[in-house]
């Protein structure tokens, strides 16, 4: 791509906190083939962070990267990827990324930077001010020790309007592996807050007055944006509403498209009544209400509005106002979030987890959101909550925690599902206070290490949803059979991939889904109905690869993989097809250089393969199949004793999964025995130097030699 390519803004900002040196480098020259996001992050780690570097070592780096489409008008383009040596990866830290929405990524590009590399360690607490070309390391003594809200406020007042602040709270300052960074007070990226704290970096604040250039034809660009809007569904690209409507042939009560005329944002001033047809692209934002979906219809009356990220019409980040929590728990009555972070508080309590239309559960969520987003504590995709439940209810804590500390914890509040319990527990973890706080602040792996609990006690227990390496499953066999299993074997943290599940759960009848599957992955057998699984096959492995590559691609483009890909649509006239080449059309127009779907997918595969290479390098052995791509035992069990492939069971068969992995490795062009790419495969993907380095270190498959 030419230096004047659109989409990219051209520079990567590098800040060395040890020396105070601030510099820039050309984006395209070094990173152009990796697009952005984790592509840049992985490359920096590969080139500059040696194997064996610990997450809190000054030698570790933090790469905040926007994506090629960030800051344009492409829907859902607000993602920032923060790549580093990930601290909750167990038993050894390996490469990983945290991701946040909001407007940080767009601001970074408007300031002129495709990415920010933070290296070294400041000798005292600092924050980083970025105002276009003016970049300054400033003293953070006045905000160190304060929560994310106060920090955001103080820095916003210092910088002036129109800045975005990404800050850590006490958890990050305390170098808790479970710390997170939060921008705009509620858009969080897990696992990287402690790494920031380890560098004495309290916050990064950005103001940008530039723009992102679109190199291609503007009329074609606008037309494509309109088309994209026309194929959007609701949250997670659920393309049918949850109720019958005059305009839709299909509906699905499980759909996250729950808004409909007659519903109202009851806590807005004045309340907003939803009217008209939500098929209208100008009314997409009314389709989604995450609070009402996750917490039940009772949340409508507390809804202020749907908030969200740059250029995203979905607005999944629901703002709630619940007046009772101020008097009961002494916290602000307004909070906002989405997904797991929205349910942060409720999920600690067995009685409240998953419970809808419970006022207590809603209050617990408000307390949880308030504390987690201010102290900067991550949930590890809900594993923190499941860990606490298992530790307490399984008697582990009573047996292992010192009696004095055990007695100091208000368990009666926990037993009564009293949200006030969280006022004690969450600060305990963020402040790494006591044995319990210290262990939970380090993530699930620390539970195994510290209390000598065999990992198997988690991995065999389906209710923990624990997968491997200190992290839980993220849409595995319960959603998508072998495809889900393959995807969950590939990362060093939870997979964070929604490409597959957004398709499986899109709400269309199975027959329609299979038609779409045949068109994209070459066979209707690329997809099974949930719990009606058939043996592994090549089309399923092809879909697993597609899902992973699109996830990496979305992170590299800065578009939201929680909302895409757009393989299906609400449009009956298109046979409910979306557009599988949408991303490449946008990239072509943005850069001004034609890129077809296959070409762009290869870039996604390049990025994904670089992640594989980093993992192999840092693990120090090539046999990924035996040592990394692991499946927990609960996947091969059924709670009712049903055999694999029994209709109504998610139980997988070990031999079948072994075949599924082989199909996948083959499609990836990797060695089937070890699950590792060979030197030639790296070269084919434009990673020849990576392949040569690994080969020289004996970290490529022997079969190739």
């Amino acid at each position: 791509m030419a230096v004047r390519s659109g989409g990219f803004v051209g520079k990567v900002l590098r800040v060395d906190l040890s020396t105070g040196k601030i510099s820039t480098e050309d984006t395209l020259e070094r990173y152009g083939a990796l697009l952005g996001g984790a592509g840049i992050g992985y490359r920096v780690l590969w080139d500059e962070v040696p194997a064996g570097t610990g997450p809190f070592d000054p030698a570790n780096k933090l790469i905040f990267a926007a994506g090629l489409l960030v800051g344009t008008s492409v829907p859902c383009n607000g993602r920032t990827t923060i790549t580093t040596i990930f601290p909750t990866c167990w038993p050894r830290p390996l490469v990983g990324s945290g991701h946040m929405g909001g407007h940080f990524a767009a601001k970074l590009k408007y300031a002129g930077y495709d990415a920010l590399i933070v290296e070294g360690k400041a000798d005292k607490p600092v924050w980083l001010m970025i105002r276009d070309a003016h970049v300054e390391i400033r003293d953070a003594g006045h905000v160190w020790g304060t929560g994310i809200r106060r920090t955001t406020l103080e820095i916003s007042q210092e910088m002036g309007p129109d800045c975005v602040v990404a800050a850590i709270g006490q958890a990050g300052e305390n170098q808790a592996p479970m710390g997170m960074v939060v921008n705009s007070v509620s858009h969080s990226a897990g696992g990287v807050g402690g790494v920031m704290g380890g560098k004495n970096l309290k916050a990064v604040a950005v103001q940008g007055s530039g723009a992102v250039r679109i190199a291609g034809d503007m009329a074609a660009w606008e037309k494509l944006i309109k088309f994209h809007l026309s194929i959007l569904g609701g949250n997670n690209q659920h393309v049918v509403p949850s109720f019958p409507t005059p305009q839709a042939e299909y509906y699905n009560p499980a759909s996250r498209w729950i808004g409909q005329p007659g519903k109202r944002w009851g806590a807005a001033k004045p309340p907003v009544e939803i009217t008209g047809t939500l098929r209208d692209p100008n009314r997409i934002a009314y389709r989604t209400n995450s609070a009402a979906y996750f917490l039940g219809d009772a949340a409508w009356k507390y809804t202020v509005r749907g908030n969200g990220c740059t250029a995203c019409p979905i607005r999944c980040h629901t703002m709630l106002k619940v007046p009772s929590v101020t008097t009961k728990y002494g916290i602000p009555d307004t909070g906002q979030n989405t997904c797991v972070a929205l349910m942060f508080g409720r999920s600690f309590f067995t009685q409240l987890a998953g419970q809808k239309n419970s006022e207590t559960a809603i209050e617990a969520c408000m307390v949880g959101m308030h504390l987690a987003d201010d102290l900067g504590l991550w949930s590890n995709y809900g594993q923190l909550q499941r860990d606490l439940r298992k530790l307490y209810e399984g008697g582990y804590l009573k047996a292992r925690l010192g009696s004095k500390e055990y007695a100091s914890i208000p368990w009666e509040k926990y037993d009564n599902a009293d949200p006030a319990f969280l006022l004690d527990l969450i600060p305990r973890i963020a402040n790494r206070q006591g044995e319990l706080g210290e262990v939970l602040s380090r993530g699930t792996g620390a539970i195994f290490d510290h209390w000598s609990i065999p990992e198997a006690q988690w991995a065999e227990d389906h209710t923990t949803t624990y997968w491997k390496m200190g992290h839980p499953k993220h849409h595995a066999n319960e959603d998508d059979g072998q495809c889900g299993v393959i995807i969950n074997t590939q990362y060093n943290r939870d997979a964070q991939c929604h490409s597959h599940t957004n398709f499986v759960r899109n709400g269309l009848p199975l027959e329609v889904q299979k038609k779409l599957a045949a068109a994209i992955w070459g066979s209707p057998d690329a997809l099974d109905a949930p719990g009606d699984y058939t043996p592994a096959n090549v089309p399923k492995a092809r879909r697993a690869k597609w899902s992973l590559v699109r996830k990496e691609l979305h992170d590299a483009l800065g578009v939201c993989n929680w909302m895409g890909p757009w393989a299906a649509s609400p449009l009956q006239e298109r046979g409910y097809a979306g557009d599988d080449s949408l991303e490449s059309k946008f990239v072509s127009l943005a850069t001004g250089q034609a890129m077809d779907r296959e070409g762009l997918d290869q870039a996604g595969e390049r990025i994904f393969t670089l992640h594989r290479a980093l993992t192999i390098r840092d693990m120090g052995h090539v046999d990924m199949r035996a040592g990394h791509d692991l499946v927990p035992p609960w996947v091969f069990k059924d709670q009712n004793g049903a055999a694999p492939f029994t209709k109504g069971s998610i139980r997988m068969d070990p031999d079948d999964i072994a075949r599924a992995m082989e199909y996948f490795y083959e499609i990836m062009g990797w060695d089937k025995k070890t699950g590792a790419p060979g030197k030639a495969r790296y070269a084919e993907l434009g990673l020849a130097d990576v392949g040569e380095a690994l080969d020289a270190a004996g970290l490529t498959p022997k079969a190739e030699k």
Partner: protein
């Protein structure tokens, strides 16, 4: 009738169906005729005993793009514009006054097409808007009717009630699907 007049008539018929569909109403040929006559549009149509004008309208309707006929519960065809009123929604409208049939057929189509059981609360919401006691009474009636013996219910571990048809779903799989759906909000 001249070609121009025939075109005008077809357009008027199309507009009438679209108006009804936009108002979420199904419309029969005799109602269309009535509206056309009231507007002075269909004066050139032959009248009985020479010919049945409704049959002529039916022929016109059959040739209109995007207009579908539905054999209603009353036994007569009713018409709707598919772009404004989907087949699924048209069926729901048609069965609105026959609660038992409405529930049974909706449950059957969900079990057959997706496949899935449906939560009983579905029928309390728009566009069904049935009171819980009305739903309970209808389900009781269905359970006593030989024609609807396939309609049955299950209760999840958390106490949620789902309905399904044994014609298309076996109980074990229906239980799995219901449990899975009930767990989705905890599996984001």
């Amino acid at each position: 009738m001249s070609e121009a007049n025939a075109d005008d008539l077809a357009q008027a018929v199309l507009d009438t169906v679209r108006e009804a569909s936009a108002a979420m109403r199904l419309i029969a040929a005799d109602e269309i005729l009535e509206q056309l006559l009231a507007r002075g549009v269909a004066t050139q149509l032959p009248t009985p005993p020479e010919a049945n004008p409704c049959l002529l309208l039916a022929a016109i309707l059959a040739g209109l793009p995007g207009i579908a006929a539905l054999n209603s519960l009353s036994g007569r065809p009713v018409y709707h514009d598919l772009a404004l009123l989907s087949r699924t929604y048209a069926r729901i409208l048609d069965r609105k006054d026959a609660t038992e049939v409405l529930l049974a057929e909706e449950i059957r189509s969900n079990s057959r097409d997706y496949p899935r059981p449906v939560p009983v609360e579905l029928f309390e919401k728009t566009p069904f808007n049935l009171a819980p006691e009305t739903i309970a009474a209808a389900l009781k009636t269905l359970s006593c009717d030989q024609e609807f013996q396939d309609i049955t219910s299950l209760t999840t571990a958390a106490g949620a009630v789902y309905l399904f048809s044994t014609l298309y779903l076996k109980r074990g799989y229906a239980v799995f699907l219901a449990e899975q759906e009930a767990s989705l909000a905890g599996n984001p």
